[in-house]
């Protein structure tokens, strides 16, 4: 095959992104999205997902409590929307900007949850391939690579016209 593996995600035009995922990758995205959805629906205060709902007023616990009450449900709905959109488009060969943004949101929140639960640090670590944590690290590393590609593709599209905005007359 050579040195250059085909990119999984690539901008191919204004607002257009080609996607090349193998079947197992599509299944992984779909099942991880469903798993996280289940946990979020159960409770946003579950320790494994606390990282997805951070403090806003770090110097004022009372205000922060009020902020969380005001915004928690909206943030949850947005997170669920990204997971659902990704699961629905996991088999797509092409995505628009919104579609790829949903993937980015999904991959990012999955990394946050998995990474927090693995207690990852900024430094790379040697993982015993036979340890219980090894599969988690493998998934985490995979998502890291995928996210990097998504960011790279979307960066190229930062100047693209917003499809939601009608052209001015």
């Amino acid at each position: 095959m050579g040195l250059f593996r085909k990119r999984r995600v690539q901008r191919v035009g204004p607002g257009r992104y080609a996607v090349h995922l193998q079947g197992w990758e599509q299944q992984l995205l779909t099942s991880l999205s469903a798993d996280l959805r289940s946990v979020l629906e159960e409770s946003t205060d579950d320790p494994s997902v606390r990282r997805l709902f951070p403090t806003a007023y770090h110097e004022d616990p009372e205000r922060d409590r009020e902020y969380q009450v005001l915004t928690r449900d909206e943030l949850l709905q947005r997170r669920l929307a990204a997971l659902d959109a990704t699961a629905a488009t996991a088999g797509a060969r092409e995505l628009d900007a919104d579609g790829l943004a949903a993937w980015m949101g999904t991959v990012n929140q999955l990394r946050l949850v998995i990474g927090t639960n693995l207690d990852v640090s900024e430094e790379p670590v040697q993982i015993d391939p036979d340890s219980d944590e090894a599969p988690g690290y493998a998934v985490y590393d995979y998502l890291t690579g995928l996210l990097a590609e998504i960011v790279d593709a979307l960066e190229g599209g930062l100047g693209d016209p917003d499809p939601e905005v009608p052209a001015s007359p």
Binding site: A101, N108, S121, L147, A148
Partner: protein
Amino acid sequence: MTGVSPVEVERPVGGTEAEEDVPWVVLVWNDPINLMSYVAYVFQKLFGYSKEKAEQLMLQVHHEGRSAVAHGTRSECELHVFRLHEHGLWATMQHDR
């Protein structure tokens, strides 16, 4: 870019009217998980910063532990914090001083 209309944080929680005029600042804190390229991209996307400015802020987060990424009224900053949280960044807000 998500296709979902922005949340309307019309009235910040608590506080007096005079307090709403006090400038607030949004901080983004370093964390061991978010990719540097991702953080810089989010700054460009959410604030319209140039690539250079976004990278400068991202590096400040990375090296100094945190960076002030936006200023504004309490309402404006709550919205910025909400969007940053939606993107998985660890953002908080405080009085600008």
